[in-house]
Symmetry: C2
Subunit: 334 residues, 2 copies
DNA sequence: TTGTATGCGTTATCAA
DNA sequence: TTGATAACGCATACAA
């Protein structure tokens, strides 16, 4: 027997309207009745039913987060930021792991729609037309995190992958490296693949270094990709002195493979990562990497959602600054 | 303008009752009307409102998961399993990070109650009396994951921490080690602290090895605890040849600290971890560890919740088997 | 300051 | 096979 507003009203000898006002701090009651009602609420342990509330108010105090099932470590930092501010706003988040599958994404989108969520943050993946359409039809604020759309007017929060990659590469160059390899995401990936390759190429070119095709190997972003990629790379580009890994996981894969091949990092090979995940400081040697302010970005994405909700207007995108975090996987060449 | 069941009914020239029946596959309509209604639903892009549904059906198809903010890597594996089966059951999960604070936990519990969730999995923390009371009052199924209650009759899913620790220690002993240190959680922690210490002690004793107080250092479960703990341990127990770390993160901390001190693992020091997180295979050297089937445990915990929901009865607790995963951080002593 | 009554979008109970 | 209509638990416009 769940206890409702009626029970409170009856026991306090007032109408449900009055109880409602008190619960919601709407004006229209005396100090005495407030006392009494609050008292009864306490006694009965009454808690309003969010469903009934949401049905009327059109607000469920819930936002949805869509994440592809890549790099749970990356995602958990984003989500941590999102949850933090969402909680501060008195809302909850429902996280949906799409496994990068269109079918599952659409399915989740429908679920979120039925749950009448108030807003959505869409993470790390290309916003396809039908995704966009579905969300647009839901008529709720949406923001992109660690991705952007060139086709639709949706605000986003990210770093500049191109410039971050440029910085990482330039860092290596300034440390005296000339023969630099890269293990990157696929060129077809216009979010985290091609832009980082572009940044790498641009930095090399800016310093009048030419890069051959064999210097770049395109795999995915996880650990295994790092070890596989390194095997390929070292094979076709044995004289390299440094590698730029497109993710920290990949960098760890390189570290691991190099260790097994008795290649000492950083003495014989320097490696720089990308992301600055928690594991970057846990590796041996600790990983030098270009940091994205992951938690901050997560926070901002949620803040923008709430800002849009409250203002009913769109909002500016944000490009966060990146920075090089120096640890011990890169050595200066003399 | 959100479109409702009424719109469908009107356009299809039937009553909302009929539409409802068709949407829910309840008997009571002809093939023709079904065709027509389905057609209209398609055209209008109608999706039922979950709030209204839940209000009447008492089912929101949402379950809550409470996790303390320790070891996001551990949690993300648990959650991954939970989400998987929850999705299979056509439900969603709301994850609440309690930061191990009673206040926040209670607060989240109220939120979940207002959202009328169908069930709850409570993770990795002691189920305090008031938590239990709140959840009990919600009258929904609950299961404990990676924790258990000695005070309340709540089904749980976990491994035997004591026996797993016993196995890890015994593994070290069988590899020829006699002087074995341990970095553990606090003794006050009756879930993951004391039991693992007990297992360690028991294994030593069973092999007629006595352990001195200085052989055990009690810290937390994360990376920093590992490095700090190792410094203490090596200081007060320099002749040790192996360490049992109460978590993989701690083990990585040890690896890291040892590397900096030029202590070679496993040649000069063997280390075994606990959990078998993804990072266990990413470290250098790859970490030998006692594995908990984390994802499976997460799955099972959710399955039990749904089983309880459907059967309206309680359910048996499950102790999952653990196993030693041999990698390269332990060396056999000759 | 307070209460009555209506509606939010469904499902379920009846009667037709 | 169908359709009215009463709930579900609450917020709110309007009356008092």
């Amino acid at each position: 027997m769940t206890i409702t507003i009626k029970d409170v009203a009856k026991k306090a000898n007032v109408s449900i309207a009055t109880v409602s006002r008190i619960v919601n701090n709407k004006p229209g009651y005396s100090k005495e009745t407030e006392q009494k009602v609050l008292q009864v609420i306490q006694e009965l342990g009454y808690h309003p039913n969010g469903l009934a509330r949401g049905l009327i108010s059109k607000r469920t105090h819930t936002i949805g987060v869509l994440v592809p099932d890549i790099s749970s470590m990356l995602m958990s930092e984003f989500i941590s930021g999102i949850e933090h501010v969402t909680h501060d706003y008195g809302s909850s988040v429902i996280v949906c792991h799409t496994e990068s599958q269109g079918q599952k994404t659409r399915q989740y989108l429908q679920v979120l729609k039925e749950k009448q969520i108030d807003g959505i943050v869409f993470t790390s993946e290309v916003l396809k037309k039908d995704y966009y359409q579905i969300i647009k039809d839901m008529d709720i604020p949406m923001v992109l995190l660690s991705t952007e759309s060139f086709d639709f007017p949706v605000p986003y929060v990210k770093v500049s992958d191109r410039r971050a990659a440029y910085s990482a590469t330039e860092y290596l160059i300034k440390k005296g490296h000339r023969k630099i390899g890269m293990i990157s995401g696929r060129r077809g990936d216009i979010i985290a693949g091609q832009p980082r390759i572009d940044g790498f190429m641009a930095a090399m070119k800016a310093h009048e270094l030419s890069v051959k095709d064999e210097w770049i190997v395109t795999e995915g972003f996880n650990f295994e990709d790092g070890v596989n990629g390194f095997h390929k790379l070292i094979d076709q580009f044995p004289e390299m002195t440094a590698v730029f890994a497109a993710s920290d996981e990949v960098a760890l894969g390189i570290l691991s493979a190099a260790y097994k091949m008795n290649i000492h990092v950083p003495d014989q090979l320097s490696v720089i990562g990308y992301d600055n995940l928690r594991i970057a400081e846990m590796s041996t040697p600790p990983l030098t990497t270009v940091a994205q302010p992951l938690v901050e970005m997560g926070k901002k994405s949620a803040e923008l959602v709430f800002e849009m909700m409250e203002s009913n207007r769109s909002v500016e995108s944000r490009i966060f600054p990146h920075e090089i975090v120096e640890r011990q996987s890169v050595k200066e060449l003399s």
